[in-house]
Symmetry: C2
Subunit: 211 residues, 2 copies
Amino acid sequence: MRTAIVLFDRFTALDAVGPYETMSRIPGAETVFVAERTGPVRNDTGSLALTADRTLADVPDPDVVVVPGGPGQDAQMGNETLLDWLRAADAASTWTTSVCSGSLLLAAAGLLSGRRATSHWLALDLLKQYGAEPTGERVVTDGKYVTAAGVSSGIDMGLTLVGRIAGDEHAQAVQLLTEYDPQPPYDAGSPDKAPAYLVEEFRTRNRFILN
Amino acid sequence: MRTAIVLFDRFTALDAVGPYETMSRIPGAETVFVAERTGPVRNDTGSLALTADRTLADVPDPDVVVVPGGPGQDAQMGNETLLDWLRAADAASTWTTSVCSGSLLLAAAGLLSGRRATSHWLALDLLKQYGAEPTGERVVTDGKYVTAAGVSSGIDMGLTLVGRIAGDEHAQAVQLLTEYDPQPPYDAGSPDKAPAYLVEEFRTRNRFILN
């Protein structure tokens, strides 16, 4: 089973590494980071670079596609090389997935039309513009399309997919070994829970991804 | 404020990227990945490489030190270049921190003697051998030393430190923007919660980090 995780300039690191850390531990999994060009790809703050080991063209038909988000997603919405690759990869994939604003790229490729999907809480309305049916859920499965909400939600998505692909027991083993027993020191992880003025402030700023 | 995140061959990616994603968003933060040599550093599965932009020698006195773990930690326990750097960096740091078996490296450098600390649940006994006082807690603060349990716990540690350094409001903003409202699809993230036979199986295998 081959999983391709797509990188692009100014992606958000945890969007990619959250699902990576769990899904790369599926028995028999081969995981490859892909981008238009091989080499280091810088994240949204510029202080982190993940290596793309293969080009998109090198990996035309992965079994699982993972598309992270981040502020760089915006510049990719009209990138036909990437969108064409997404459409072709999706035609052969078993699972097509995204984290955060990565779902907007799936949507721009025409893959989420009429489907239930999610994204970063500030991007849900935009998802609707592409004909998807956004939900406020953290992980949404619609057929073979699995989308996750903002940044850290990719960990939950990854574990969900480990369970679907390798079984509940293996997913529990991965959870135990990654010690995923979250205990956030605050309870502000969603717009329902965070202080209202913070939610309002970010809605007003109108750009939904971390800068 | 300069944060140095230490990389070494066969580190575990989420150990480094969990705290990175939150702590790099502290106002005025400069975050740099450091290793003995600059360039790509491969993780435990070999399919991910993060770039070290600076050598250890380039960054002798960061304000915050973050040491991830992973199976590669074992080979670093006698690496005097790294251990000397940790001791020197610690002498000037405001916070010295670790995730997973990274605390064993802090311990091997002599920095956790007599201190309360944590590590991956399978590494707690080993921590004791270095004179630390291991606890089963997910994030342990003892003075300026902050250690986190296995892999994913670095996210909780990162948010804790954002709160200490930049204030509760900023930490809540980071939590909201990273949508850290965890909803694991299983409840097997600690030895107390996972099926007993899985815990037993991993204890028997005797190598505590993900392979």
